[in-house]
Symmetry: C2
Subunit: 114 residues, 2 copies
């Protein structure tokens, strides 16, 4: 996916403030944070949205979930709490079509969920 | 977990409008929906929050993610879009300590994420 900005971040071709990276996932600071902690956690494999997750990707997404916990620990919000959000498609205003989990914390959530 | 209301729903000891159920996950309508589609997807195994997901639970949570897609299809929001939210701990106002994924759709999201 030559044009995908998140693939470029993974490859190091676009700058980002990377918090964590390994062979399966990359986590970096959102450039427009909505809270003191606002990390984007993405799979290194390009998958456009949750609608495109295949059964063979399940191991990767299981690892994504334990990685969410790791991100919470690295940013110090595991006890204070955090919200995980993944937006899919137009009604959720998905802007980048490479799956990303927002991990948001460091303050009490101010907005209802919907 | 005798006292957990979501475990009771899984066992059928508390009523819920169940959308989908199999050996690993259960999905039912939120009793206080914030949008036309508002489903709670839970693992049948009692796990309090994302902080308590162990490496041996990764397969289950990979399956949870493909189940999110299934819920979107069953409720007809896979094309229009949907937001997945999981709240952990006090700053995110987690109320039931059995992991639950909110799948919210059927209208344009009205609130910022944080």
């Amino acid at each position: 996916m030559d044009e995908c900005i998140f693939c470029k971040i993974i490859k190091g071709d676009l700058p980002a403030k990377v918090l964590y990276k390994d062979e399966q996932v990359t986590a970096f600071h959102d450039i427009n944070p909505v809270a003191p902690t606002h990390i984007l956690l993405i799979p290194n494999k390009h998958i456009a949205s949750i609608n495109e997750i295949a059964p063979e990707d399940e191991a990767l997404f299981g690892y994504m979930m334990t990685s969410v916990k790791k991100i919470a620990e690295l940013t110090g919000v595991e006890k204070s709490g955090y919200r995980l959000i993944a937006n899919t498609g137009p009604d959720a205003n998905q802007e980048v079509f490479h799956i990303h989990f927002h991990v948001i914390g460091g303050q009490r959530m101010r907005h209802p969920m919907g």
